[in-house]
Symmetry: none
Subunit: 214 residues, 2 copies
DNA sequence: GGCGCTATGTATAATTG
DNA sequence: TCAATTATACATAGCGC
């Protein structure tokens, strides 16, 4: 967007690509921020940094994604929670000495193990979130018991959850079915609140007043 | 950014705010798209549409979040892709022979790399679910964080599911008996949606009358 | 490789239809 | 209210340090 018109395609040049990335990423975040501020909307952007120079074989968990709101520490923290992930940055210094390889190998094994565990944990969390999001997803919980070594007690609980939710869903739909007509006006935003009752404080000073509408 | 310098603050004027939102949102999406293309990075933006005309708090179901890449369907695809946890398979076979160590080490490195990628992907997926799960997702994240469901595992979440069900039951009972009152503002969390069927399905028409109530 | 600069391409606020 | 137009504010590609 400057001295030359941009060709919308992968920038092959390694360094200029990264330069562009940095600039544009910054700009993007600013844009999100502005949009969010100007229009008081919830918005976020997530950008995963381009893979570091191939030489840097590793750095445990890659840099946390660039995101906005950085200010909305909630998101950052959530992401960070996972991104931060323990240890291991020093896999770097690897030498090729026989005596070292064993050491390295075992280190790597450890790492792999840890990461596997992490992955598994994330899988669980993810599935859980899906559950929070939808009943259908609850069925996926089933896979948990197979894929992961969770206590058997969980199965029972899950089954119970199934039944109760099914029942509730049925009752709910049945009971409120004919009520739809009124909904038009009575409906309160509602929605959301997947699981917990969100206590959110929308700290917008004045948006409440919006009366004008046109 | 045109005939007048923008003041970075909430645009009080209702119509111009929406106009601005539309324009900027479009621009933002374009930016994300460009960044993604130019630098070949994984990126996404999620923007929750500003509260509808607000004429009467009538918005049943909020519109789906504006997102990039390629709208919700794309995200769904991505999510779906992640759903099938590839996971490690052959972490096992490892030998400790001198001549093998190098090989093993490099293998492990690869694996680590893959797992890192997986972790990151999971991060995104997770965040997406969180965002797609509720329009007030960010706030919910906060709640979730406080409940340390992110930090720990199944047990906590199970408990939350229980709570959620209790809430549903409560809502159900309440709604069943009170429905006639048209609780206009009743912010009964209500919803069903989240738990019952979230459909990250983006058919954002208007929401079909879910049994939402309210 | 990052920083700053500047010429230009873009995004977009205000205006008009 | 939305679309097209216009005038400006911004973002940023290419360079030099």
């Amino acid at each position: 967007m400057a001295r030359k018109k941009v060709k919308l395609a992968w920038i092959s040049n390694d360094s200029s690509r990264r330069a562009t990335f940095k600039k544009r990423n910054k700009g993007l975040m600013k844009k999100v921020s502005e949009l969010s501020t100007l229009c008081a909307v919830t918005a976020c952007a997530i950008v995963f940094p381009p893979p570091p120079p191939t030489t840097t074989t590793n750095s445990h968990h890659q840099q946390p994604a660039e995101i906005w709101p950085s200010s909305a520490s909630e998101v950052k923290r959530v992401i960070g929670r996972f991104a931060e992930l323990p240890h291991m940055e020093r896999t770097k210094r690897m030498m090729n000495q026989e005596g070292f390889l064993r050491h390295t190998a075992s280190k790597l094994k450890e790492q792999v193990k840890r990461q596997q565990r992490e992955n598994r944990e994330q899988d669980v969390k993810l599935l859980m979130y899906q559950c929070l999001g939808g009943h259908k997803a609850l069925h996926q919980l089933d896979s948990l018991k197979d894929l992961h070594c969770l206590g058997t007690s969980v199965d029972d609980i899950i089954n119970q959850l199934y039944q109760r939710i099914d029942q509730l869903e049925f009752d709910y739909n049945t009971t409120t079915y004919d009520d739809d007509h009124h909904h038009q006006n009575t409906t309160t935003t509602t929605t959301t609140t997947p699981l917990i009752n969100t206590t959110y404080d929308n700290h917008h000073d004045d948006d409440e007043a919006t009366a004008t509408t046109s």
